[in-house]
Symmetry: C2
Subunit: 240 residues, 2 copies
DNA sequence: GCCGATTTGTCCGTATGTATC
DNA sequence: CGATACATACGGACAAATCGG
């Protein structure tokens, strides 16, 4: 919960954009005007604006001003920019989430697993298979590897609720960055066993490595989604 | 081509990380040390570090230092963070690119197109269908809509080379931000006509809206990729 | 456990450059 | 040309987290 000044300005402007207090294509107040409005320095205003730019909410134009280029996103969207747990995104979309633990094991990384996950060979890991359902429909099959040394005391019981709640709440670990790769792969027998694939023979697959604030990788996950409930959004900016 | 000081520091550090001058999990020099090394202010160093953080290259740790968390990416990767033309990414991956223009038309956006593309109804557009091949294999089918008012004088000839080169080079338009949505969809008859889908019945689909530096949307594109040659990478950071 | 040195995080004020109008 | 607006850069101040003695 940051109480930083730039973050307050960021959130305030963000809300004003989302609620169309500033409309699409409208200019925001100039930096100078925002300085007066929020009683702060120019750097602080600029930091808030920089974050809105990275979010794709606004576009600064040299010598002209800052334009609102936000258009509301579609509601079915599953994943957006940040790091979100399954539970969080379900909540955001007002859906009922349910998680079933299919497998729970303690393993040691061999050469093959080490190569795949980014953990060093010989590392002690938890391996889980979990099935996520939304509004009663099983849609996502997850293969998780957690670093046992850091994610101590994980149980099937915890895994059936929110592991992220446990990591951040109980263990007090701060989740920092996550590197994700998105691919499309053939369905497997395991996929078909648990998920009604209709006539799709592919899954949307997100593999991710997640790091805590000490730069230690504590998770590798492969998340397999049924195509028709999968959507991933992103904003890119071009480097000059 | 920015000649800004922070950008020089950013590139220099980035290269040192990629070439493992700094190794994985190693600490970078402290901000103070970097100030001396680059003869600049702390803010300038911090800006460079902030960009590396956003790239997922390093992780700053309060009171401790900045850690290198970069691991080399896989080579087959098609799209990374920024905005890249087909030609640019092919070049980066040392592949031979070829583009065939299947359709070239001038149209006016009706209600349906307006809703899909984000252009206003009645807008004059170019509509193209293009097939991209890598090393002789047709892999990507693109449906492009360009704002005629801005992307003046587009021809099939230009479209068979690089439209982005034309936009940035000839027209002097600066490409600023691009909003992308990634989904997985069934193959269409058009897909199958031009692309050897093997046993896949899905395509990886990127739809994107692209804006110039005046905040004007000049492009809507749906880019359909054969699954086995598609990979999308991303780094996310968790907001505290 | 305390204290001081180091390191990153936030914020401020100012100066100068560049693009737009 | 001058006024306005964003872009870069500098230097300084204090807070917060970490670490070693």
């Amino acid at each position: 919960m940051p109480k930083a000044k730039y973050d307050h300005i960021y959130r305030d402007l963000k809300e004003k954009i989302e609620t169309e207090y500033y409309t699409y294509q409208e200019m925001l107040p100039s930096e100078h005007a925002l300085i007066l409005e929020y009683d702060c320095s120019r750097n602080t205003v600029r930091r808030a604006l920089a974050e809105l730019t990275a979010d794709g909410y606004v576009q600064p134009m040299h010598g002209k001003g800052v334009r609102n280029i936000f258009q509301p996103i579609e509601q079915t969207s599953f994943t957006v920019g940040g790091i979100e747990s399954f539970k969080e995104s379900a909540l955001r979309n007002h859906q009922k989430a349910f998680t079933k633990v299919l497998q729970f094991a303690e393993i040691t990384a061999d050469a093959k697993i080490a190569k795949k996950t980014g953990f060093r060979e010989g590392t002690e890991l938890y391996y889980l298979q979990r099935l996520h359902s939304l509004d009663g429909k099983p849609l996502i099959l997850n293969h998780n590897y957690f670093l046992k040394e850091l994610i101590k005391g994980l149980t099937p019981e915890i895994a059936s609720h929110s592991i992220y709640d446990y990591i951040e709440g109980e263990l007090g670990i701060t989740i920092a960055t996550s590197k994700r790769t998105l691919t499309v792969e053939h369905v497997t027998q395991v996929d078909e066993k648990y998920i009604d694939m209709k006539d799709y023979n592919c899954m949307a697959v997100i593999t991710s490595q997640t790091f805590d604030d000490n730069g230690v990788q504590f998770e590798f996950t492969q998340s397999r989604h049924r195509p028709d409930y999968f959507r991933f959004q992103d904003v890119a900016t071009r480097r000059k």
